[in-house]
Homo-oligomer: 258 residues x 2
Amino acid sequence: MPSKAEISFARSLHQKKFRQEHKLFITEGKKAVEELLRSVYRVKKIYALADYAEKLSGPFAARVKGKISVANEKELQSISTLTTAQECVALAEIPEAKFNKESIAGSVTLMLDNISDPGNMGTIVRTAHWFGIEHVICSERCVDTYNPKVVQAAMGSLFFVNVIQTGLEKILSSLKKSIPVYGTVLNGKNIYEDKLQSPAVILLGNESTGISEELKPFITHPITIPPGVKTGKHKPDSLNVATAAAIVCSELTSKNIL
Amino acid sequence: MPSKAEISFARSLHQKKFRQEHKLFITEGKKAVEELLRSVYRVKKIYALADYAEKLSGPFAARVKGKISVANEKELQSISTLTTAQECVALAEIPEAKFNKESIAGSVTLMLDNISDPGNMGTIVRTAHWFGIEHVICSERCVDTYNPKVVQAAMGSLFFVNVIQTGLEKILSSLKKSIPVYGTVLNGKNIYEDKLQSPAVILLGNESTGISEELKPFITHPITIPPGVKTGKHKPDSLNVATAAAIVCSELTSKNIL
């Protein structure tokens, strides 16, 4: 049973400053917690309903040993970031950012500039995992990677993709245009006609304002997903950024590049 | 200035039963409200901050005549469905569902079975609009199309796509397999290798459980977006449904079918 102090500590991790102070984050629900247990992430504590706690001890016995605290629904609700708590909440360590320039020299890397919606960020990480992209590099102005809504939307994929948050300008500048930097913009080359290649960086910008002015000079290949609206019909002015990310990844896969 | 009764009426539209009773829905923020004014939707009322009310009267003078009520921030917040209200909230009529079998016989139609997340539903409508898809047919078990979170995520595209909510079984059965029904499933044909065609129906299922058992028999072409995870790595078990919808639409566009 979690003590009041434990509940209060877990709750503090809803906030970025305490996540950063303790280097811990919170993840909840069967799906995400089981993916966490399959990953190399260090698990600190799992609060779970009695039934579910018992189930977890089966396949994940070694991983959960000494870390499970049985909680009732009310206790889980007070730890949860969700309107309706699920059967378990886990506390896990935020890993040290691992990154070197060579990591991106050999494959396709997503770079996210100033993504503000946690649902978008989590969905992009989930999509990256699906398409086998190993590194997602987020600018410091992006929403915190370990924000509970990002963790939720990533559906466990956050634990299998190397997601790091750092200055993009420094990395892009160190690449010295040695590999293509595809930037999704409004008036770029039609993505369906462009000859895409790997290794490459795919740069995606903010939901409202797109790629920031400071990063635009690093784009070597501006690309656009053309709207398919019939002539004469009113045209939408943008696509959701997580949708755009998925389309670029899919197009690379379709062309056997990814 | 909105009266207390008006505020209370507008607030009632946060709930599905009152939206259905009054055949009205709520939409907020510059972007969505301006798209609403560009559409054929009937606008009933616009509550806006003084500055913005004046701006609206310029390009949309005819559309907004006699319908604007200047409100202060506190009043807008009490009408708003958002944590932080934006500069305007509009009340508009839910249009009569227009649908006949011929509408789907000549083009690509999205059918959504039991989509429960409003953000996903809105994003799918936005994507449909982007790719020039005219009809999105949602099962009755989907989240309400005029749920404020759906309206928000659709970013105005809801007003330019014919989105109707009805029984899918009846429509699919009336098609008698005359056009392909592509269903996104886990073990279908690789979407990148399949020869897709139009007209067609693209059927997408629930976020957790996929396409329901009752609708599966109507699928003529089960398709799959294959995961691109490198051998030996842990594989995610699904993609976000709005992401999947976008990838199918993009693939159709890439192959010049849409």
